[in-house]
Symmetry: C2
Subunit: 252 residues, 2 copies
C-alpha cells in the first residue's frame, strides 16, 4: 500500500486542488489517502469530497499553532507549511501499524497543489528504506534532484545550499512504513531552518548512501512542484457591497 | 462522444498541466481529446505525452499570428488566447463529421490549466444545442454563471458587463457537434473585444432562451478557472552561467 499524506488548508482553490489530486490518485492501485486538514475541526467541504472520491482514505485534522501560521502578508517561504499535519499523519500511521500487521507499505508526502504522474507512484512502490527522484519546477530551478553515480546517490543537483543534509523537496522521496515505525521519534521539525524541513525528518531515518534512486537513476521528471495562483476576487467584494454577490451557499 | 478541445502552448508548466488534465480525462468514458498546439510544428513533448496517455486523441497545431500573440510584458487579458487553436479544432471536427456519420456528440473547450470534476462531463453529455453551467474562480468572482428561472436561463451572474450577449467563460458551456456542423461559419472571432470571445461563437449558434441549464439548474460548481503560477527559475540562470545548470536533455 502507498500511504499518500496530504496536508491541506481552507482557501478559494482548495476544492479545485483536492478534486484534481483525487482524480490522479484514483488511477493508482493499492493507495490510501491520508488527508490532514490544517483546521481545528474537520470541514464539511473536505469530508464530502473524500466521501465521494472513490478512494480509500483517512480524514485527520490538526491546526497549525497560531505563531507558526503564515500570515496574509508573509512571503511563503517564511514559515514551513503543513508540518503539524504531516506529523499527525505519521502518528496515525504508527498507531495503525501497531494495531495491525502491516506488510510492504510506503509513505509519500504529497502536497495538494503539486502535479503527479502515475509513474511516480510505481517508482516508489518498492521502497526498502527511502527512495528518491528529481522534482520539476522547484527551488528556482527547472528541476532539483539527486545525482547518481554507479547506482548510488553521491550528491544533489540544487541551486541553493547543496550542503544541507538532504536538499530534497518533499515531493522527491518516499519512506517505507517499516522505517517510520522503527524510528518512533522521527518527525518534521517545525523549528527547522528554511530549507531544512525535509532534512529534519530524513536525518533521523537514513544516510545518503542508503538512498534508493528511482526514475531511471534520477534522470526523469515524474512530479512537478506546481503552484496555483491565488484567485483575485475584487469584483466579488464590490458586488457583495451592492447586494449582488455570489450565493455563499454555493460551494466553490 | 465528448470532443474536448484543448489549446496549449510551450512553457515551463506545460507538461505538468497536460499530465494532470489527461489524468482527469482518462476517467471519462467516450471522450476524444483534441489537443491543438500553438506552434508552427507539433512538438515531441506533446506528441509523446499523447501517445502514452491512454486516451483517444487528435493532435493538431496552428501558431497564433505574431501580432495576436501575447508578449512577455502584456497583461494576460490584453489579447484573447487559444483562438486560432479552437477554430482549427472546429475545422477538423466539421471535416471529420462530413466524412463519417456522427451520432450524438458534443464539443467542449477545455483549457489546459483549469480544473474539471468528472461530473461536468456527465452534465454536458446530453446537449441538444448548447448547455451551460457556472464556473468557479473566474472574472474576479467566486463564480460566474447563468441564472435560471422556471428551467430557463434568464440572465447571468457576472461581475462585469452583464449586457454582453453571452457573459459565460469558455469552461461554462458545451455545444452539440450537430450545431457546429450546421453553422459552418460559426467561429471564435480573434478581433472580438475583451470578454466577447465566447459571445462571438455563441451568437452564431444559439439564443439565450435556447440554452440548456445543467449542474442542478446552474447551482453547482463543477469546474474551476484555476491558473498556475509561472515558476521562477532565477537560480537556474545563475547556475547555468556557472556551468552547473540543469541538464537540458531532461524533459520537465
Ligand atoms: O497554512 C497552510 C499552508 C499550506 N498547507 C499545506 O501544506 C502543503 C504545502 O504548502 P504550499 O503548497 O503552500 O507550499 P509550497 O508550494 O510553497 O511548497 C500544501 O499541501 C498545503 O495545502 C497547510 O496545511 N497550511
Ligand atoms: O499564447 C498562448 C496562450 C495560451 N494558450 C492556451 O489557451 C488557453 C487559455 O489560455 P490561459 O489559460 O493562459 O488563459 P486564462 O487563464 O487567462 O483564461 C490555455 O489552454 C492555454 O494553454 C495558447 O494556446 N497560446
Ligand atoms: Mn505547493
Ligand atoms: Mn487559464
Amino acid at each position: 500500500t502507498i500511504y499518500v499524506v496530504t496536508p491541506t488548508y481552507a482557501r478559494l482553490v482548495q476544492k479545485a486542488e483536492l478534486t484534481r489530486l483525487s482524480l490522479t490518485l484514483l488511477h493508482v492501485p493499492r493507495l490510501h489517502w491520508i488527508v490532514v486538514e490544517d483546521s481545528p475541526q474537520p470541514t464539511p467541504l473536505v469530508r464530502d469530497l473524500l466521501a465521494v472520491s472513490g478512494l480509500a482514505y483517512t480524514h485527520l485534522h490538526v491546526p497549525t499553532p497560531k505563531d507558526m501560521k503564515l500570515q496574509e502578508k508573509d512571503p511563503t517561504w517564511l514559515k514551513p507549511r503543513g508540518v503539524e499535519q504531516r506529523n499527525e499523519a505519521m502518528r496515525w500511521l504508527r498507531e495503525m501499524a501497531a494495531a495491525a500487521a502491516v506488510e510492504q507499505a510506503v509513505v509519500y508526502f504529497a502536497d495538494d497543489d503539486n502535479t503527479y504522474s502515475l509513474k511516480v507512484f510505481e517508482e516508489m512502490r518498492f521502497t526498502q528504506r527511502v527512495s528518491v527522484w528529481p522534482v520539476g519546477l522547484v527551488g528556482g530551478m527547472r528541476y532539483e534532484g539527486p545525482v547518481v553515480e554507479n547506482g548510488k546517490v553521491v550528491r544533489f543537483h540544487t541551486g541553493w545550499r547543496p550542503s544541507r543534509p538532504f536538499p530534497i523537496d518533499m515531493a522527491g522521496f518516499a519512506v517505507s512504513l517499516r522505517l517510520v515505525v522503527a524510528h518512533p521519534g522521527a518527525r518534521f521539525d517545525r523549528s527547522a531552518q528554511i530549507g531544512f524541513l525535509e532534512s529534519s525528518l530524513l536525518q533521523g531515518l537514513v544516510t545518503m548512501k542508503e538512498l534508493e534512486p528511482k526514475a531511471d537513476m534520477c534522470t526523469k521528471i515524474l512530479v512537478w512542484h506546481t503552484r496555483t495562483e491565488k484567485p483575485k476576487i475584487k469584483r466579488e467584494e464590490i458586488m457583495q457591497k451592492q447586494g449582488m454577490g455570489s450565493d455563499l451557499n454555493v460551494e466553490v
